[in-house]
């Protein structure tokens, strides 16, 4: 045997293996460095999860999960006070149902929770997962965990059905590409200072977002009130489009139900209230698609409560309760949580609350119950010598709306009345040459004694 060849080959392979390991180590080091510099220190999820971990061994009997509608709709102090519970929220912005499942599973394992509340909206079932949100959630829940836990969690995300065939699956190896601070030296150095300088995650979040008030136990909110004039930008149908529910999201909901059932956890799926215009904007889709999610939950023996369809006996949202087109603000969340908690308490004592809600089958009855003009939006269409501006009202079935039009210049508060109250939603703005005008509309229900119920404006460029 040629003894020179075999040891030589072994040395070559050993050198190659060592070279590969060194390359991978250097790559990992560069990646960790980039993550330290660019991944924001202190995300809302990390604040939540670090507080959650600090409550190890303490009593938590109710876990709240879901997207930002859940994150901002359920005031846990109010909920605990109403239900006599000890709750914690692991909700997060754009949380996917897969991550909601993980949150419930974790809470069952750590605290043997008896109650799970999943806050959803239409987009929870019509949209796919957002990789940014999934990465932030994963990083937060993996903080401080052993390497094996992190590796399993990362692999689970990379190999998930939704991402495994896409480039995101490999990009999950580079967390700093998903959520990051600004690229400027100031932002990066501040991030590093906060990370290494003893700033708590909560302090870091508050420095970045001073308007966010954290109450504790995973709940935080804002005090802003929605500007209904900007309803067009807030329309769900514009942001997400009118789409049917995805089968994979309903499957994920089914898995959550199965998890709860097999662990003796009472699940309540609650559709948090949103401004009425964001229910109406879906047209027939809302009443056709929501029952699909409802059926999954009720078939599993759990309850599905859509507070957009709540009757006055259960809950009435105030116009100032909303932060924006989909979330409640702090006041709104407190009011809603009280109503929700009281209703849930009744349900848990065996009472039937069906009569407290309109049904999807009786959609016209719900539409007829809407006695306010929720919003008005404007669209423009150029024509021959005119630009036709059309108002779209978001009101109940059979409600008549009247409109008043003004025109002004951009940047000026001076306006001129160009069309007095009329039920005609269109206005033809005569135009010559090139220029721009701001068209304002005021709208109100016919018979309303208010100066106007809602208004909007649009910049017309011609």
């Amino acid at each position: 045997m040629d003894t020179d060849v075999v040891p030589g080959r072994r040395r070559t392979w050993a050198r190659r293996a060592l070279g590969t390991l060194v390359t991978l180590a250097l790559l990992a080091l560069a990646n960790v460095l980039a993550t330290l510099l660019l991944d924001p220190y202190g995300s809302l999820s990390s604040v939540r999860w670090s507080e959650y971990r600090s409550m190890a061994g303490q009593d938590i009997d109710t876990i709240v999960v879901g997207s930002s509608v859940s994150e901002r709709s359920l005031d846990l102090q109010v909920l605990d006070g109403t239900l006599g519970a000890s709750s914690f929220s692991l909700s997060s912005s754009a949380q996917s149902l897969e991550d909601s499942y993980i949150g419930i599973e974790q809470a069952i394992r750590d605290h043997h929770v008896k109650r799970a509340i999943l806050g959803v909206d239409y987009a929870s079932f019509s949209e796919g997962s957002y990789p940014n949100a999934r990465m932030a959630y994963l990083l937060a829940r993996c903080e401080g965990q052993p390497l094996g836990y992190r590796a399993r969690a990362l692999w689970g995300l990379m190999s998930s059905h939704e991402f495994a065939g896409t480039s995101q699956s490999l990009n999950f190896l580079f967390p700093w590409t998903f959520n990051r601070v600004g690229m400027g030296p100031r932002a990066v150095s501040q991030n590093l200072r906060q990370r290494l300088g003893g700033t708590t995650q909560l302090e870091a979040v508050k420095q970045r977002d001073p308007n966010w008030h954290y109450q504790g136990k995973g709940y935080g909110n804002y005090d802003f009130v929605i500007d209904y004039t900007n309803a067009k930008e807030l329309l769900f149908s514009s942001q997400y489009g009118r789409k049917p529910f995805r089968d994979d999201t309903l499957d994920a909901l089914r898995r959550i139900c199965d998890l709860c059932r097999s662990n003796g956890v009472e699940l309540t799926v609650v559709v948090a209230p949103c401004p009425t215009f964001n229910v109406l904007c879906y047209g027939d889709y809302y009443s056709q698609q929501m029952p699909r999610a409802q059926k999954v939950v009720t078939d599993a023996g759990f309850r599905f409560l859509d507070f957009n369809l709540a009757r006055g006996s259960a809950y009435v949202a105030d116009e100032s309760d909303f932060l924006d087109g989909e979330h409640l603000n702090a006041n709104g969340a407190a009011r809603f949580t009280k109503a929700f908690g009281e209703l849930l308490a009744r349900v848990e004592t065996g009472q039937d609350v069906t009569s407290d809600f309109y049904s999807y089958d009786g959609w016209d009855e719900y539409l007829g119950s809407i006695d306010r003009l929720s919003a008005v939006t404007l669209d423009e269409e150029p024509g021959d010598g005119v630009v036709r501006v059309t108002a779209t009202p978001y009101a109940g079935l059979g409600r008549k709306v009247e409109y008043q039009y003004y025109v002004g210049e951009r940047g000026s508060n001076d306006t001129a009345l160009v069309r007095d109250w009329s039920e005609d939603p269109t206005f033809d703005l005569p135009v010559t040459g090139h220029g721009e005008k701001v068209v304002y509309v005021r709208a109100r229900l016919v018979g309303s004694t208010a100066e106007f119920d809602r208004r909007s404006n649009i910049l017309v460029t011609y």
Partner: protein, 530 residues
């Protein structure tokens, strides 16, 4: 399934382990693993409903190749037994007719299927017999153009006696369905690919490293440049009107130059790398096209395999037809020797590029694009003596480098003029943009557009625009080094560990940091459903 994804990495890894394992353990039969892997890949890419078409195309061309071989053998036998030359001649003519029938039937099947799926709905729509170009719901199967051209090329090679017909359908099916070439080429030749596909290949460390580097470079082109620029180009050309400044149009076209090259060549790099890992070297498809010194040279460097296919199966056969030969003779006698030689080639060039234009799509702007390229190349051929005299008069021979730079820039401009008809998806809009370029350039209006597309807001937190710029600089640098005859991969891999690692890290980081910020979220390859 994207090429840069966990699924593809796992697929390729599993295939490579099985492929080399079978080779090592059994010593043969690796091609079966490749065939199974290729069919599996096609299904993973969403092609299961149309897999039958791949198999049918392969079956038809395989059977036709065998039929031609059988006819040849029978013709030889009968001619040997023939009593005299007249009978031999008659036998030869009869079998030539039979061979032509076999060829035409097979071509009609394959190209007919391609033509029907690609153009029938569009033709009906343009004739007013269909409400839209997609109303019939005809789905273009993944890679149909590429595997059809490849199969047709094999058949024509069999017909012309260049290759011997393959007797085994599964082996031939591997050639047609070999997975790296399926999405967007290259269009390979039986003579080059078959021995590699059917032969024994061993795992090789250096080849694997080269493949990895090429794969990452290709992915960088695709994601850090093409995907990032795609949304910006859409933003420019989504609403063309008469008032659009020419400077903005030019910006959009230049961005498209980069985007199209990065997308197409990036994808090709990735598939070449995947194939190289397995020990199969496919035909190169790009040879630094933007360094070309003429439009003809450009098309010898861009989509090389399609150009070669068109040259061998359209250009030469057409140029050598009787009418073209007659044209050559007639023009040679009346118009001079140069025209006598050049005119048939000019006609053939126009035909080739008309076909290439239509291959891109049946829309008018693609036809215009094809005609533009064909006519410019034809004109360059026709006037080549005049250009040669001008070159001499200008002293180009004494300043070859300067002349080369000038020729490269000139070619770049000519190519980009052609992109007006390729990227702007309406012929009227293409003309509007051309008019704007020459009559309403308005350079001062480019600045706000640049700021909007590339300024701090558009650049995003990770400066995605800068990522695209870095990517373009990297592509240019690599191309320059390669144009000078150096092997860039060898240069990188022969350096120390630190340099190699820096290359991997830089490429991976460029890819990773780009994907989340591309406006419009471009995903698949531009040519995937061709």
């Amino acid at each position: 399934m994207e090429l840069y994804s966990l699924n593809f990495v796992l697929f390729l890894a599993a295939l490579a382990v099985t492929y080399f394992g079978v080779g090592r353990i059994l010593g043969r039969g690796q091609w079966v693993v490749l065939l199974a892997g290729s069919l599996c890949f096609y299904c993973l890419m969403g092609g299961l409903p149309t897999l039958w078409l791949v198999i049918a195309t392969a079956a038809v061309t395989w059977a036709a190749g065998l039929a031609l071989a059988r006819l040849d053998a029978e013709c030889r036998d009968r001619r040997k037994a023939a009593p005299d030359r007249a009978v031999k001649k008659e036998i030869k003519a009869r079998f030539a007719r039979l061979r032509r029938v076999v060829l035409l039937v097979a071509l009609a099947c394959c190209l007919g299927a391609l033509g029907y799926l690609k153009y029938w709905n569009v033709i009906l729509w343009q004739a007013g017999a269909a409400p839209s170009p997609s109303s019939l719901g005809l789905v273009l199967p993944l890679g149909i153009s590429f595997y059809t051209f490849q199969a047709v090329g094999y058949l024509l090679d069999c017909y012309n006696g260049r290759v011997e017909a393959e007797r085994s359908l599964p082996r031939y099916l591997l050639f047609v369905s070999y997975f790296p070439q399926l999405i967007q080429g290259p269009i390979n030749r039986w003579a080059d690919l078959a021995p590699q596909l059917l032969g024994r290949n061993r795992a090789d460390w250096d080849r694997a490293r080269r493949a990895l580097l090429l794969f990452l470079f290709g992915a960088m082109k695709k994601y850090a440049v093409a995907n990032v620029l795609s949304g910006r180009i859409d933003a420019i050309f989504s609403s063309v009107d008469a008032g659009m400044p020419g400077s903005v149009v030019v910006l959009g076209i230049l961005l498209y130059s980069a985007q199209q090259y990065a997308d197409f060549s990036g994808g090709i790099d990735m598939v070449l790398a995947a194939s190289e890992l397995l020990g199969v070297r496919m035909a190169p498809n790009f040879k630094r096209p933007y360094f070309a010194v003429s439009l003809a040279d450009f098309w010898r460097r861009w989509h090389v395999s399609l150009g070669a296919w068109m040259r061998d199966y359209v250009f030469y056969p057409f140029a050598l037809t009787r009418p073209m030969k007659a044209l050559g003779r007639w023009s040679g006698e009346r118009l001079g020797r140069h025209l006598g030689r050049t005119l048939p080639a000019c006609c053939a060039n126009v035909l080739v590029f008309l076909i290439v234009g239509v291959w891109h799509g049946a829309e008018v702007h693609y036809v215009a694009w094809g005609l533009y390229n064909g006519l410019v190349i034809a004109a360059a051929d026709l006037f080549s003596p005049a250009f040669a005299r001008m070159r001499t008069a200008l002293g180009a021979d004494s300043h070859p480098r300067l002349w080369r730079v000038w020729a490269t820039l000139r070619t770049f401009l000519v190519v980009n003029l052609g992109w007006y008809f390729d990227r702007i998806y309406d012929f009227g809009d293409s003309l509007t943009c051309l008019r704007a370029t020459f009559l309403n350039f308005a350079p001062q209006l480019m600045k706000p557009t640049l700021a909007e597309l590339f300024g701090p807001k558009a650049a995003g937190p990770l400066g995605v625009s800068y990522i695209a710029i870095i990517g373009c600089v990297a592509i240019f640098a690599v191309s320059l080094v390669e144009e000078r005859g150096h092997d860039v991969r060898e240069l990188v891999l022969s350096r120390g560990l630190l340099v190699r690692t820096c290359a991997y890290v830089a490429l991976l980081f460029l890819i990773a940091s780009s994907y989340a910020f591309s406006i419009g979220g471009a995903g698949g390859f531009m040519y995937a459903n061709f």
